[in-house]
């Protein structure tokens, strides 16, 4: 497709990714879903007490330029050693993608999406190359898709490549 030698085919210079790997096709929606579900089951087994009770969301993001997966959970930002990526959280001179004030009743950075995307960005990913799936992990809704909240809509809609779980309607 991108053989420029004959002059018949223009070179593919409008790639949205800065990756040298010419963007791999992503896993299917079903594969993303089973990946995050399996991860969430393993996570839940490791937890007990308050942590297990409070675990309600899991997210997987796939970087199509590297083929890597990153997983996140709600309140992941409270884990020891968490490094806030300035693209999301901003720094002393620049705002981040996340809103400055929470648009709902939960603190900025609380979401599973933020945890997963933060890991991806800290690993050098470009947010435009990310595919995302978010699920409930409570007992009665385990595995069901979870539409993104107001804060994540603000930060990620129009930026991540695909969100299989859906965005807030009308936003």
């Amino acid at each position: 497709m991108s053989k420029g030698n004959s002059g018949l085919f223009p070179s593919l210079s409008h790639n949205t990714s800065s990756s040298p790997n010419n963007n791999k096709p992503g896993p299917t929606e079903n594969k993303m879903h089973s990946n995050v579900k399996n991860w969430a089951e393993r996570e839940k087994e490791k937890l007990h007490g308050k942590a297990k009770k409070g675990f309600n969301t899991a997210c997987v993001v796939y970087d199509e330029s590297t083929g890597k997966h990153y997983y996140g959970k709600n309140a992941g930002y409270k884990e020891p050693g968490y490094v806030k990526n300035p693209i999301l959280f901003g720094d002393s001179t620049h705002p981040g993608l996340l809103p400055k004030e929470s648009l709902n009743k939960y603190p900025i950075g609380n979401c599973a999406e933020v945890d997963a995307i933060n890991k991806a960005l800290n690993d050098g990913a470009n947010i435009n190359n990310l595919h995302m799936t978010v699920i409930h992990t409570t007992n009665h809704q385990f595995g069901s898709y979870k539409e993104s909240c107001e804060n994540c809509n603000y930060a990620f809609r129009g930026k991540v490549k695909i969100n299989y779980s859906g965005w807030k309607e009308g936003n």
């Binding site: 007990h48 409070g54 709600n74 309140a75 709902n104 009743k105 107001e150």
Partner: protein
């Protein structure tokens, strides 16, 4: 049910749910001191629910019963060791800490505010039917025990027009019948 709370914010629905819990505790166990539990409960209306749910879950029976001994990791900064033991003693004999069992009424009711904080965490409120179900489940326990429902009009001030349906923060302690016994 849906009509009563349709225009009430999530924060207002939380307040009403806490009022239901208090009505239950005050009626069924009037000689027990619920002050600590209620102080933590009413922080919900003026706190973010990511942090509040972590604090409150510490005192729900099905959680605290999992800890045989005080855990610094999970309880430091929330309950002292003495408070931890006092809460366990408070629940002793009146609940087995069985999750999602309406038969274990104390644990079931005390879970309702936690469920309200969790139900839309990380997502959107939508039509709110899940939150109405939580309220209905709490009210059913009160009805089953012949306990009068709280006055829902006391939370109408917290409008679903505020803060994307979540409602503005407010100090809800004035609504407490346990912390303000003279208003009972």
């Amino acid at each position: 049910m849906t009509d009563k709370f349709k225009n009430v914010s999530m924060n207002g629905r939380m307040a009403y749910t806490i009022m239901c819990v208090e009505s239950y505790l005050a009626e069924k166990f009037p000689n027990k001191d619920w002050t600590l539990i209620c102080k933590i409960l009413w922080q919900a209306t003026s706190s973010n629910w990511g942090d509040w749910s972590d604090i409150y879950s510490s005192v729900i029976p099905d959680v605290i019963f999992q800890y045989e001994e005080y855990s610094n990791e999970d309880y430091e900064g929330i309950l002292s060791e003495e408070e931890f033991q006092n809460v366990k003693n408070l629940f002793s004999g009146i609940t087995k800490g069985i999750e999602n069992d309406p038969g274990d009424e104390v644990n079931y009711m005390l879970n309702k505010p936690f469920e309200m904080a969790m139900v839309y965490e990380g997502t959107v409120i939508g039509d709110g039917k899940e939150s109405f179900n939580i309220i209905e489940n709490a009210e059913n326990i009160l009805k089953k025990n012949g306990i009068a429902l709280p006055d829902y009009k006391k939370v109408l001030f917290s409008s679903a027009d505020e803060h994307n349906g979540w409602g503005n923060d407010f100090d809800g302690e004035y609504l407490s019948i346990i912390l303000n016994k003279e208003q009972k």
